[in-house]
């Protein structure tokens, strides 16, 4: 079955979405990620969606869910590299993702994560 790889970088998990997301893939990612957070006791999750150029309300909600569930498991989530079109679409859909931290690219996202973890 098709899966989105989850890479470990020290205390953080890195997820890069390179393919078009469909609903099943999103659900699998949600399961896999929660599994991996608990197994590795990761402190932060970085989701790179720079290659994602299409988004619907389901994927938008999934991003929100992933962020809240990792927060419950004591891991910070940072969403990076959102395309302008995707951002506009999410806003128009009313999905403003208030609880999700964002950054422009992976580099800045990593810095943000490290800063957050240090603060704790």
């Amino acid at each position: 079955m098709e899966r989105i790889p989850i890479l470990q970088m020290g205390p953080f998990l890195l997820v890069t979405i390179q393919v078009d997301m469909h609903d099943q893939l999103a659900l699998t990612l949600q399961d896999d990620l929660s599994e991996r957070i608990s197994k590795t006791s990761a402190r932060g999750v970085l989701i790179d969606i720079s290659a994602l150029d299409m988004v619907d309300s389901f994927i938008g909600r999934m991003i929100d869910t992933i962020s809240s569930l990792s927060k419950i498991m004591d891991a910070q989530t940072v969403l990076v590299g959102m395309q302008p079109a995707v951002a506009i679409t999410l806003v128009e859909l009313g999905l403003t993702l208030p609880g999700v931290s964002t950054a422009l690219n992976v580099d800045r996202g990593m810095k943000l994560l490290q800063q957050r973890v240090l603060e704790q």
Partner: protein
């Protein structure tokens, strides 16, 4: 009512050159040839006369929507369009057609000298035809003008939303004019794209030039701010004038989570502080 007599058509064909000369003179006298090249005018007048004669030969009908008049209508469309671009007004454009009536009527008068009844009837027919052609010209002229206005509006839309780089990592967008959905869309797209291109972390939206803020405008602003935050950048709104601040409070608009500053300088100062930069006086 009887249609145009073949005699009328023959008279037009036989006195083609004379008609042209008188028509051109009339045009020049009425000032409808402003900004036009002599040679262009010659070509247009002779082409139009030719088209009218051939149109009459084909259809012999006053109904200019008929297929027999296709070429003429196409020619008039092109003509009106070029006139609109040259800045002629509708009167000058319509005069192109109406100035032909004078010489033509004089010609018909001579042609039907002995038959006043037929003359009156033929004059009526010709007059109706040329009125229809003139109306067609004005209609297409107006359409061309409207398309010019529409294009200018679009250009204005692009022009009025420049994204300025204030510092490394700081973008500013001075908004001028009323914010509607269409403009917000353009503003949002160009700003977000510039954020991606330059990797800027802070965007300042300056609303000094926005005359009024109502609930709709505030909603558009909030959308833009949210989209910028989703991309991973921060947004500061500057240029909130006292009246606008009052309006926002009176309307009960919720601008929570949005950083607002009174002017662009304050916003830039905040942006630089966030980037860890300080400005100091040289000794």
């Amino acid at each position: 009512m009887a249609a145009l007599q073949p005699g009328t058509l023959d008279a037009m064909k036989n006195n083609h050159t004379q008609l042209l000369a008188e028509w051109t003179n009339g045009l020049q006298a009425s000032g409808a040839t402003r900004n036009l090249k002599e040679q262009d005018l010659q070509q247009q007048t002779s082409e139009f006369l030719h088209l009218v004669i051939s149109g009459l030969q084909n259809g012999n009908d006053k109904n200019i929507a008929a297929p027999g008049w296709d070429d003429t209508r196409l020619f008039l469309e092109k003509l009106s369009h070029s006139r609109a671009l040259l800045g002629h007004d509708s009167q000058q454009t319509a005069n192109f057609i109406f100035a032909l009536k004078g010489p033509l009527f004089a010609l018909l008068q001579k042609h039907y000298e002995g038959n006043p009844a037929l003359l009156a009837q033929q004059l009526w027919e010709v007059s109706e035809l040329f009125d229809a052609l003139g109306m067609q010209t004005i209609r297409t002229f107006q359409k061309s003008r409207e398309s010019v206005i529409k294009r200018q509006q679009e250009e204005l839309l692009e022009l009025s939303t420049p994204v300025v780089k204030l510092w490394d990592g700081v973008l500013a967008l001075p908004m001028i004019g009323t914010l509607d959905s269409q403009r917000t869309q353009v503003v949002m797209e160009s700003l977000l794209q510039r954020i991606v291109d330059t990797g800027s972390e802070i965007a300042i939206i300056d609303i000094t030039g926005v005359p009024t803020v109502d609930t709709l405008v505030a909603q558009h602003l909030l959308k833009t701010v949210t989209a910028i935050r989703l991309m991973g950048a921060d947004c500061i709104i500057s240029g909130v004038r006292p009246q606008i601040a009052q309006t926002i409070v009176h309307l009960g608009l919720d601008l929570q989570g949005v950083v607002t500053k009174a002017n662009l300088a304050d916003a830039l100062k905040l942006a630089l502080t966030r980037l860890g930069l300080t400005i100091s006086k040289a000794d």
